[in-house]
Point group: C2
Chain length 127, copies 2
């Protein structure tokens, strides 16, 4: 079965990051593509890793935290305590996001008030 692989710029295009970024992630131990001579060859697994990195960033993880999660996950497959640790970290992150969401609801509520005040101020003239 012919394993599909990717070049660095293919991945860069697909995920809208620069090649520099991808190499940087490798530098940080987040990716370990194979080589064909000098050239980097990315497997499906590498591609998934990149997806996970970017998702991690979107939920506010630092690259170091992502790295630690990868390491934990790799080591955790057969180790329950580490898996629990893994889950605990993510639960904590979930709670942080929940707080963020609460914050933004507050902000949006305030905005609503401001808006209605403004519309009242502008009055019946030319809204």
């Amino acid at each position: 079965m012919a394993e599909h692989t990717f070049s660095i710029s293919e991945l860069a295009r697909e995920f809208d990051v620069t090649t520099r970024t991808i190499r940087f992630y490798e530098d940080q131990g987040l990716l370990e593509p194979q080589r064909a001579g000098q050239r980097r060859i990315y497997s499906r697994r590498d591609r998934v890793r990149l997806m996970l990195i970017l998702r991690g960033k979107r939920i506010g993880l630092s690259l170091l935290e992502i790295r630690e999660l990868f390491d934990l996950y790799d080591a955790a497959s057969n180790d329950e305590p580490q898996l629990r640790e893994f889950i605990r970290i993510l639960s904590r992150k979930e709670q942080q996001l929940q707080e963020q969401l609460d914050d933004i609801r507050v902000v949006l509520g305030e905005i609503g008030q401001i808006r209605s005040q403004c519309e009242k101020a502008l009055g019946k003239q030319a809204v």
Copy 2:
């Protein structure tokens, strides 16, 4: 009516930031406390501003964005287009947060799978 004021370290303690941080926010045009000689005197309004700054940070705004929102808000009180812009920016942020939440739900879903796999692997022995 005696306006209650605050020293820099009072605010620092209350919000668990350093005085350096508060001065830095002033440097960035986010706060403009009065002075008694050299000393900074923070009013209730300044305190509210600081709360807003920290809340803004929690929802992922940069200090620059917060600054722009303050400026917009100050200028917007009587100007509808700017108010709409103000609201638009926050709506965009709300959407980003929503995406973050979706991301984390995905992650947590995956975690659930991994956990159950792990428990299955550990089997009936000593879970």
